[in-house]
């Protein structure tokens, strides 16, 4: 039996290797997505051109401007006169203008003592891209108030990812999506392909239990996904410079659990679908949309209406992304993701039970 199993794995591997185009897509998709999300599609604070209006240059104003110009996320564009603010923003010379008050020093003293000082600075920002604008404004404010902050006035601190680098938050999301795509869609399609082309008939009329055949199918896809996991982690660490402060073993462990869950999902889909096209359609409806919409990958779960938050609880990707965020970006130890871990374990066991129960060793 072991010999048969080995030859199944070999056969499955050959299928994948011979389908060069699919393999290229599978191996390159994570890389392309990482680079796309990491660099091109970003709403992070980056290259914000800042102009300043300074009626009374003092030492502290000079220091504040120094903080802006030395910050890698802002580009200091020079001094403006108060009546040119609107024009400069419209012509795109600057994205944001910082207006220092006439009595900046006095206001800042008051602010430090917690006695007002709200009028020390005015930030005028081009909000045609709302996300960048609000993020930029918050970050600009925190840079300007450096050294004065935290006395009395309540202040928002952006922990872990203060520049709001979108790559950070997208990495777990991409991982959650890619693994589901590869493991679930590809295994289900490859099992259903055997039904569609009629080879399943021949496989069933043999001493080998179909379950063995199916498990043998999963191994090459699991291996392929592990390669993807490796490439994603390397890209995240060395290209996107995600600090990866958490425990690497925990990240890999949770990811492997998620891979098994995705494989079980693929098996489940294959028990329902009879045609490759159906398998793809079910995968898209059942996996892609919920993952993109509800997993917190694109939209924060906390911002969803209550009913959708409840629905999002059954999307396994949500828990996986949560766990990876905690481990990878917050750098928390494994204990912090125990809840997510056990939810994923439970979901995996449930899916496997249902799929195996539904898996039939007859044609109908």
């Amino acid at each position: 039996m072991r010999k048969s199993f080995g030859s199944f794995v070999r056969k499955e591997t050959l299928h994948i290797l011979r389908d060069g185009r699919t393999m290229m897509i599978v191996l390159l998709m994570p890389v392309v997505q990482m680079i796309l999300f990491g660099f091109a599609i970003s709403n992070e604070v980056n290259n914000i051109d800042v102009g300043v209006v300074v009626p009374h240059p003092t030492e502290s104003v000079r220091q504040a401007i120094e903080r802006i110009s030395s910050n890698p996320y802002f580009t200091f564009k020079g001094y403006l006169s108060a009546d040119r603010i609107d024009q400069a923003l419209r012509q795109g010379e600057v994205d944001a203008v910082v207006v220092f008050a006439d009595d900046y020093d006095r206001q800042m003293d008051a602010f430090s003592r917690g006695e007002g000082g709200e009028k020390a600075i005015q930030i005028v920002i081009d909000a045609s891209d709302t996300n960048t604008a609000s993020a930029g404004a918050v970050y600009l404010k925190s840079v300007l108030l450096e050294g004065h902050a935290g006395v009395v006035s309540p202040e928002t601190h952006l922990l872990y990812n203060p520049q709001m680098k979108s790559a950070y938050s997208f990495v777990p999301g991409i991982m959650g999506m890619i693994f589901m795509l590869i493991c679930a869609i590809m295994t289900s399609v490859s099992i259903v392909r055997e039904k569609e082309t009629g080879t399943m008939e021949v496989l069933l009329v043999s001493p080998v239990r179909p379950l063995w055949i199916v498990s043998a199918k999963m191994i090459p896809y699991f291996t392929l996904s592990c390669l993807n996991l490796l490439s994603i982690l390397l890209l995240a660490r060395f290209v996107l410079e995600v600090p990866m402060s958490g425990n690497l073993i925990s990240i890999v462990g949770v990811s492997m659990l998620y891979l098994i869950l995705a494989l079980a999902f693929g098996l489940f889909i294959s028990t329902v679908a009879q045609r490759q096209a159906t398998a793809l359609l079910i995968s898209a409806m059942l996996l892609l949309f919920p993952i993109i919409m509800l997993s917190g990958m694109a939209f924060p779960v906390e911002n969803m209406p209550g009913i959708l938050q409840v629905v999002s609880c059954v999307v396994p990707t949500r828990w996986y992304i949560d766990a990876v965020r905690k481990l990878m970006i917050e750098g928390l130890p494994f204990v912090a993701v125990l809840k997510e871990f056990f939810i994923l374990v439970g979901m995996t066991l449930m899916l496997l039970t249902v799929a195996l129960r539904k898996f039939n060793d007859k044609l109908e």
């Binding site: 048969s4 030859s7 056969k11 043999s206 001493p207």
Partner: protein
């Protein structure tokens, strides 16, 4: 008694909703017999094969393969039969040799274990063993599929329309290979829509719309055709067909290849028919007596249904 038979089918019935695909079929296939299942599309041949190879469950009746019940002992049956489905069911992206090795491993044997059994067939495709199975010709695909179904030395071999879509020369070769396998003691159940292949079998079952019309040796079936049979030819073939059917003494007249076959009643006089037809304006009419074939019997039985 059942241990002496390769396949026993008793009142086997299979329904798909309102459609009865198989309607109480009963027959036996002896050990080492080459048994043909002959019938047009929709006769229930594939359904019967899927029932006997335990791929689907019957709605009624019972059947045993190699002495094992298809419902109870289906796992045992799967170990000892070979099955070649109607459509090409190998992996087109694997080479000839990889396909064969895979199916050998599926049954826990290696190619060398039973090489001598498949050798006469496999030698013909061995020069192409590194070629992808999807790139083989139709005849070679069938030979490879047969090798894959044989590699574990099955006791009963099920071949569902193995010669459909294969050229005439390859069809002839294929039946010769089946004859050789029969000599090795393998029982075979072969289905085909081609009546002319029936003579290659030890016994045949004619079936139509899920029912058996009759089971006998090819000679036995032909001998059951007891009425005089003639071949009718002329210039206006379609007109001839319509007019001849109206003639007194003509039981049936149907197109049969190049000519029409005409079944006469007792004491039918072909010369009078030719005279009648020529009087009606048909030219070049000829009628000659012919030996009935299996197809004639099939058509006769079908019209009696």
């Amino acid at each position: 008694m059942e241990m002496n038979e390769a396949v026993v089918v008793e009142g086997l019935t299979k329904r798909y909703g309102a459609l009865t695909a198989l309607d109480g079929m009963s027959f036996c296939v002896g050990r080492g017999e080459l048994f043909g299942l002959i019938g047009p599309d929709g006769a229930g041949k594939t359904t019967l094969f899927r029932l006997l190879t335990t791929l689907i469950d019957a709605d009624g009746g019972r059947a045993a393969v190699d002495g094992f019940d298809i419902r109870k002992d289906y796992r045992l049956i799967r170990k000892r039969v070979g099955y070649m489905p109607g459509r090409f069911s190998l992996y087109p992206d694997l080479s000839v040799e990889e396909n064969l090795a895979f199916f050998a491993a599926l049954f826990g044997v290696s190619i060398s274990d039973n090489y001598e059994l498949i050798a006469p067939i496999y030698r013909q495709i061995e020069p192409f063993r590194t070629r992808r199975a999807g790139k083989l010709s139709g005849g070679m695909k069938q030979k490879l599929a047969l090798c894959c179904a044989l590699i574990h030395r099955p006791s009963v071999l099920f071949l569902d329309e193995p010669t459909t879509g294969v050229d005439a020369v390859s069809r002839g070769e294929f039946w010769e290979m089946l004859g050789q396998l029969k000599n090795r003691g393998i029982s075979m159940l072969v289905s085909t829509p081609y009546m002319d292949e029936a003579t290659r079998c030890d016994r045949v079952a004619l079936c139509n719309e899920g029912r058996l019309l009759g089971v006998d040796t090819p000679q036995g079936i032909v001998s059951r055709f007891d009425a005089p049979l003639y071949a009718l030819e002329g210039e206006n073939m379609y007109g001839l067909l319509l007019e001849t059917r109206k003639m007194p003494g003509v039981v049936a007249c149907y197109p049969f290849g190049e000519s029409h076959h005409l079944v006469g009643c007792e004491g039918f006089d072909p010369h009078r028919l030719v005279g009648e037809l020529e009087r009606m304006g048909f030219c070049g009419v000829s009628v000659r007596a012919v030996e009935p074939g299996i197809e004639d019997v099939f058509i006769k039985w079908m019209s009696h249904e």
